[in-house]
Amino acid sequence: MYKSILLIDDNPLDNYINQFVLENENFCLEILAVQSAGDGLDFLKEKKDPALLPEIIFLDINMPLVDGFGFLEEFAKLSEEINSKSKIIMLSSSLNPRDVERAKADPYVVKFIAKPLTTESLSELVDINNI
């Protein structure tokens, strides 16, 4: 079970669904949801204690202003502490294979999951324990 997870998705309904599934699976202790890439970055930056950083970040692609890939760019510029601690899982409704390729090519993205998040896709995550 993970300590804390960060959800980044501009749509509150998606955050609700994801939270529901996560809680149902007892995936982690703490879940925080933010609605923009900016908020997500701020959240990470203000955690002085690395122990408080989320182990997993579920990241949406389609967000206004700064999208998922924009977040990844900024994330890479964060301190080594942060980007070694938090693993990113791209969670998107996109069917575009180019999005998938691009996401998988990012060094900080460990997996791409197509929405909706389900218990099955979560169980896959838990199995791959090298996360």
Partner: protein, 495 residues
């Protein structure tokens, strides 16, 4: 000079016997082989030239029945190809010079005649006449070329820009008569803003043998503006340097070209718009669908007691699922068509076909199917491996789905190389389809031809889309209860 070895045929038109004998002697002295005819009057000369052709006619200017300029003109009419050398007396010296302008080859003063001079004059006159005739005929040919050319042509004077000559095509095309053209300068057919450019170009081309080509605007007599391709060269016209111009009107061609470019631009924009639309489809529609699915999934965690409510919720789940499937299909298809360049490679058919065969093994065994494969004639295909695998899988799946209820399924797959194509044939002995009845719908999207058999109706569409994406083609022959034959044509790539 070969002339002296050839026999020279001469006619001496001379009424004075003494003069004649003298000339005859000189001729026999100077020429190895010469034939000499004698005419004592113009009438006699006329008669004899009617029957015979001469190389040279020596003509005395004062004959009993004709003399002077009139005589020369008359003789010229009957002389044929013969060179005419006029013999004059001392008193006629000035007139002798004049005869040259009448086209006479030479004039000799009888009083000063010496054999060597006579010889030289005859030989030169014959040769000169020959050269002049050739020149004239060559000029004739070019005149004809110029005047009968279907493309407007003209000659102009680069000093004062005046038209020196113009052909019929130019008159017809521009609407000016020949007289009008010859009274104009080429500036008249140019727009005023072009005149400076015209002067610069003409100056540059002057005095050189420059070939020049360029596009210009011209005005016809009726004011119509045309776009003309001008090609010009230096030409000698009446002894002076002039410019010969060929003017090809490209207005229609340019207009067609512009229209085509515009159409292409519109199509490209339209294509861009459609692609944008498909992008929207795959994003904005899929988002809500994913949410719908997500929410209906959450329902799994809650027990619904009310059977009606349960049924309704299950219905909603199914609908969401179908919706998602459709969007995924369409997206998949758009992705095939949208790829700018698709990866090709040499594919080993035995290996790939085996792989697909294994994927369908359980279904094949269930239906007691027998698969006969023969790739001996063409063992490799250059294609995209994912597409080919998908195509083979679709073909197998279809064959299994639509197998005959009564006869065990037989599948035959073989290839052959024909010219620049590889042909793959996939045949089964299943239920078949009435291809004539379904015709265009055959490879259409979401088209199904059998009731009671599961299937979305995108298999054939996918096969067609994938084949055509790499410049291949697929053809289907089938008869109800007599099986189906798919013929796939692949481009054969060298190396």
């Amino acid at each position: 000079m070969p002339l002296t070895s050839k026999k020279i045929k001469t006619l001496i038109v001379e009424d004075n016997l003494g003069d004649f004998i003298l000339i005859e002697d000189y001729l026999k002295q100077e020429f190895v082989e010469v034939s000499i005819e004698h005419a004592k009057s113009f009438k006699a000369a006329k008669e004899i030239t009617a029957d015979q052709q001469f190389d040279v006619i020596l003509l005395d200017l004062t004959l009993p029945d004709a003399s002077g300029e009139e005589l020369i003109l008359e003789v010229q009419l009957h002389a044929g190809d013969a060179a005419i050398i006029v013999l004059t007396g001392y008193s006629n010296k000035n007139f002798g010079v004049k005869t040259l302008s009448l086209g006479v080859s030479d004039y000799l003063l009888k009083d000063e005649l010496v054999p060597s001079q006579l010889y030289k004059s005859i030989v030169y006159s014959i040769e000169r006449k020959r050269v002049n005739d050739e020149l004239k005929s060559s000029e004739e040919k070019y005149r004809t070329l110029f005047h009968s050319s279907p493309i407007p042509m003209w000659v102009f004077n680069p000093e004062d820009y005046s038209f020196l000559d113009v052909n019929q095509a130019a008159c017809k095309h521009y609407g000016y008569s020949r007289e009008e053209f010859l009274s104009m300068t080429i500036k008249k057919i140019r727009p005023t803003h072009d005149l400076e450019k015209l002067e610069k170009t003409t100056l540059r081309n002057k005095g050189t043998n420059n070939y020049f080509e360029g596009m210009f605007d011209h005005y016809k007599k009726n004011g119509e503006l045309i776009h003309v391709n001008i090609q010009s060269n230096t030409i000698s016209f009446a002894g002076n340097a002039a410019r010969l111009v060929v003017a090809t009107d490209l207005t229609e061609k340019i207009k067609t070209q512009r229209e085509r470019e515009q159409l292409i631009a519109e199509l490209l924009q339209h294509n861009k718009d459609l692609r944008q639309f498909s992008y929207i489809t795959s994003h904005n529609i899929r988002g809500p669908i994913a949410q719908l699915l997500g929410l209906t999934n959450l329902l799994e965690h809650y027990k619904v007691e009310d059977p009606t409510l349960s049924k309704i919720l299950t219905g909603i789940q199914q609908v969401a699922g179908n919706f998602d499937e459709t969007i995924k299909d369409l997206s998949g298809i758009l992705n095939i068509k949208d790829r700018p360049s698709i990866l090709r490679e040499e594919i080993n058919l035995d290996i790939l076909c085996n792989k697909v065969h294994m994927q369908c093994k359980s279904s094949l065994d269930e239906s007691n199917a027998a698969v006969h494969i023969d790739f001996s004639k063409a063992a490799h295909i250059n294609f995209n491996i994912e597409y080919l695998e998908s195509i083979l899988l679709n073909l197998f799946t279809n064959a299994i789905k639509y197998r005959s209820k009564t006869t065990p399924l037989q599948i035959y797959i073989n290839t052959e190389a024909v010219e620049n194509k590889i042909i793959l044939k996939f045949r089964d002995n299943g239920m078949g389809v009435d291809v004539d009845y379904h015709k265009e719908k055959l490879f259409g999207l979401y088209q199904r031809f059998h009731e009671n058999i599961e299937g979305k109706g995108i298999g054939l569409f996918l096969i067609k889309t994938q084949m055509e994406a790499l410049r291949g083609s697929v053809h289907m022959e089938s008869k109800v209860n007599a099986g189906t034959l798919f013929t796939l044509q692949f481009e054969r790539c060298a190396g």
